[in-house]
């Protein structure tokens, strides 16, 4: 397809065995400024190639190529301002809301070209949902917050169906027991952690295929964070998840693969365990050992 795909060493299944020459090959790629590790997988759910993102004249993302496998959890880490949110927001075209933002390259959800100018973003965003850094429940009741998506997409025809969706979504988000008695009270009246789980429930209520999460726990205390991490682990059975996080422990706990971004470039993608024990790239190593970031 493109140049990055051509370098044979970087293509492979998740558990492809490393050839003896890998270290030197990595070294070459490292020198050439290419992504090291295993950015691509077979049969990806989403596949991005040569992605460039510009804010006005300023380029924020350079030549990023990455696959996200089906039902895989990919964590994105990197120092602040390196473009993690920017890249994540490309995946369901949330960047459209920023006037000066321009995206180039090929981004695909299975066979669907995400940046096809003729594409209607509404069904796309129903397939690729998003959870934001700060919990942002709508100024509506808990019930209506969760029912919002199914209603606008016309997923239900009867009230009982809607009730069922609301209940299962809240259950899957681990919130049902806490709110089942006050479904009609405002969602904004919940605690921060509950609000974030409400936002997750709201997202899974439209049964998306992919869930994008941008630092979903950064506003939460450790207990709420633990709940959400548990939830992510459960959700990964049914959903494909891309999560941006500043917590390396979190990335280590929840993700299958970890992608390290640096100054708008994708430096390394590897199995999470490898990234945190024996990264291929010296920049990754510097970051995870806390020498900067």
């Amino acid at each position: 397809m493109e140049a990055t795909v051509g370098s044979a060493n970087t293509i492979g299944k998740l558990n492809s065995e490393a050839p003896v020459s890998k270290a030197t090959a990595n070294y070459k790629e490292q020198a050439a400024g290419k992504t090291v590790g295993i950015p691509f997988v077979e049969h990806p759910k989403m596949s991005m190639r040569d992605v460039q993102v510009y804010y006005g004249d300023k380029q924020a993302i350079f030549d990023v190529g990455l696959d996200i496998g089906k039902n895989e959890v990919v964590a994105m880490i990197g120092p602040s301002g390196c473009g993690k949110s920017t890249f994540l927001r490309c995946l369901n075209r949330m960047n459209d809301t920023i006037d000066i933002c321009r995206v180039e390259g090929s981004l695909k959800l299975e066979e669907l070209d995400i940046y096809d100018p003729k594409l209607d973003v509404v069904p796309l965003r129903a397939r690729v949902g998003m959870v934001f850094q700060k919990p942002n429940p709508f100024p509506k009741s808990i019930y209506d917050n969760v029912a919002y998506g199914p209603r606008i997409h016309g997923l239900v025809s009867r009230k009982s169906e809607l009730d069922e969706i609301v209940e299962t979504s809240l259950r899957r988000a681990g919130l049902w027991e806490e709110v089942k008695d006050r479904l009609l009270s405002p969602g904004t009246g919940l605690s921060g952690g509950q609000q974030q789980r409400l936002c997750i429930a709201r997202t899974i209520a439209v049964s998306p295929e992919v869930i994008l999460m941008d630092e979903p726990c950064s506003a939460l205390d450790p207990i709420a964070t633990a709940k959400i991490e548990e939830l992510i682990a459960e959700l990964s059975a049914n959903f494909t998840i891309a999560i941006v996080t500043h917590s390396m422990q979190q990335a280590a706990r929840v993700s299958d693969r970890t992608a390290y971004f640096h100054l708008g470039k994708l430096i390394e993608v590897n199995e999470t365990e490898k990234v945190f024990t024996n990264p291929d790239h010296e920049l990754t190593e510097a970051y995870i050992t806390g020498r900067f970031g």
């Binding site: 965003r125 998003m130 429940p137 709508f138 509506k140 405002p186 904004t188």
Partner: protein, 469 residues
């Protein structure tokens, strides 16, 4: 020394006091470690404190003097007048006093002044000069001595900043109370005059009467002028016109706000928004003659043509509630649009993102997320517009007429509460006739209605807030 040069002197004195107070604190400071470490407050506060000690008492003396010296001097002069003159009734005594003052100011007086007037004018001049002098001496010595006193009190441990802040807090408080006291004063004067009105006209007749015709007989033999004070036609007129205005302004203004905040590019916004605000700056008189000279004839001709076309026999007056209401609606569009635009913009982008992230379209997001979140503010802007509409007078005078018809037909001429207040008070009725007092009663009613409206709005908004914040 006249008053203005006295004030100027006091200002100079204040500046001098500031300078010396500051200098003394600096000289007392221990600067060996850099800065003013041993001073309790910055030198600025010591200077200000000295200046306040000097300025406030001096200015207070001058102010009190100016308030009271006229009455005191007047009574002194009156006491000097010969016995028969002092026995004159109040009105004539006032005339005598006036001619004394005129003579003293070397203005012309009618005819030859009486000798006692000349003498009084002389002594008036003398007393005034003495009073001026005394005011200056007292004010300046008080200011200066207190400044010196506070200058001596300056100590490094003195809590100058706390004292200055206390004084300024008191000044701020008194400014705030001016507004409150004025309101209270106005309300009470309106209430008292209204009570006088209700002694002449029964309250129930006023509230439930359906006929408004405030012309009263000035002489007992005048015909056809009994005076009827039923406010229902006035309130229906007010309601009719305000309703028409709001029907025009609320949808237009709200749509404008939505367009500006959600759809328009920033260039369009930066042009349209100021232009809209120009609408709010047009004097209402201009709207008034636009309504009277352009819209009202248009409605009359258009209506006449329509009725003729339909084969109906109906006359349309050239003054109509519709004309006034339409133009008033245009006038209050910017109130709705500008304020709503602000509150819509204040809805956090995160909420929109959340909605877009679920695949909602722009219009779904606006209808279901943005507008509900902005609702309290929108209600507020609508109420502001409504109170503008209820209080608006000029457009109604010019376009809707003065006839107090009890009607719901927008093509007829009606009148409003505020217009009637104006017409009651212009003209040369004596001031304690029921006709003029009725204006106060109307004002009171208007006040109560707007107050109730505001209270209701606040209540609604608060309830909504509690639910969703």
């Amino acid at each position: 020394m006249n008053t203005s040069s006295l004030l100027l002197t006091i200002v100079v004195l204040i500046a001098v006091a500031y300078f010396f107070g500051r200098r003394r604190s600096v000289s007392l400071a221990d600067t060996s470690q850099g800065g003013y470490r041993n001073l309790n407050s910055l030198p600025f506060y010591y200077g200000t404190l000295t200046a306040l000690w000097c300025g406030i008492p001096a200015l207070l003396v001058v102010a009190l003097w100016l308030v009271f010296d006229n009455t005191i001097i007047d009574s002194l002069i009156l006491a000097q007048l010969p016995e028969p003159v002092r026995a004159l009734p109040d009105g004539e005594l006032g005339l005598v006093l006036n001619s004394i003052k005129n003579l003293a100011a070397e203005n012309m007086t009618a005819g030859d002044p009486e000798p006692y007037v000349v003498a009084a004018a002389d002594s008036l001049n003398r007393i005034t000069a003495i009073s001026q002098m005394a005011m200056a001496v007292l004010g300046l010595t008080l200011g200066m001595s207190l400044a010196v006193f506070s200058w001596f009190r300056i100590q490094p441990q003195q809590k100058a900043r706390l004292q200055v802040e206390k004084v300024f807090k008191f000044i701020l408080l008194s400014c705030a109370s001016i507004a409150i006291l004025t309101t209270v004063g106005i309300v009470f004067s309106v209430i008292f005059e209204s009570l006088r009105f209700f002694q002449a006209v029964p309250f129930t007749e006023f509230i439930f009467g359906t006929h408004w015709s405030p012309q009263m007989a000035i002489r007992a033999d005048q015909v056809g002028s009994s005076g009827a004070f039923g406010i229902i036609p006035l309130f229906t007129g007010t309601l009719l016109i305000s309703a028409i205005a709001l029907i025009v302004a609320v949808p237009t203004g709200l749509m404008t706000a939505i367009y500006l905040s959600e759809y328009a590019s920033s260039t369009v916004r930066s042009i349209v928004k100021p232009l809209l605000e120009v609408l709010a700056g047009i004097p209402t008189v201009v709207y008034g003659f636009f309504a009277a000279l352009t819209i009202a004839p248009l409605i009359r001709d258009g209506g006449a043509w329509t009725f003729e076309f339909l084969g109906l026999q109906m006359a349309i007056s050239s003054e109509s509630a519709l004309a006034a209401g339409l133009v008033m609606g245009v006038m209050i569009i910017p109130f709705v649009s500008s304020l709503s635009d602000d509150v819509i913009n204040a809805v956090p982008q995160a909420l929109r993102d959340g909605s877009f992230g679920l695949g909602a379209t722009r219009s779904e997001t606006i209808k279901q997320v943005v507008l509900p979140a902005a609702l309290p503010g929108i209600v507020g802007s609508v109420l502001l517009a409504a109170s503008r509409a209820i209080g608006e007078t000029m457009i109604v005078v010019m376009a809707a007429g003065l006839a107090a018809n009890l009607t719901a037909n927008p093509l007829e001429s009606v009148t409003t509460v505020t217009v009637q207040i104006v017409t009651l008070l212009v003209g040369d009725q004596e001031f304690d006739s029921p006709k003029t007092l009725a204006a106060f009663a109307l004002g009171l009613m208007l006040f109560i209605v707007t107050l109730a409206l505001n209270y209701l709005a606040l209540h609604v908004v608060k309830k909504y807030r509690e639910q969703y914040e």
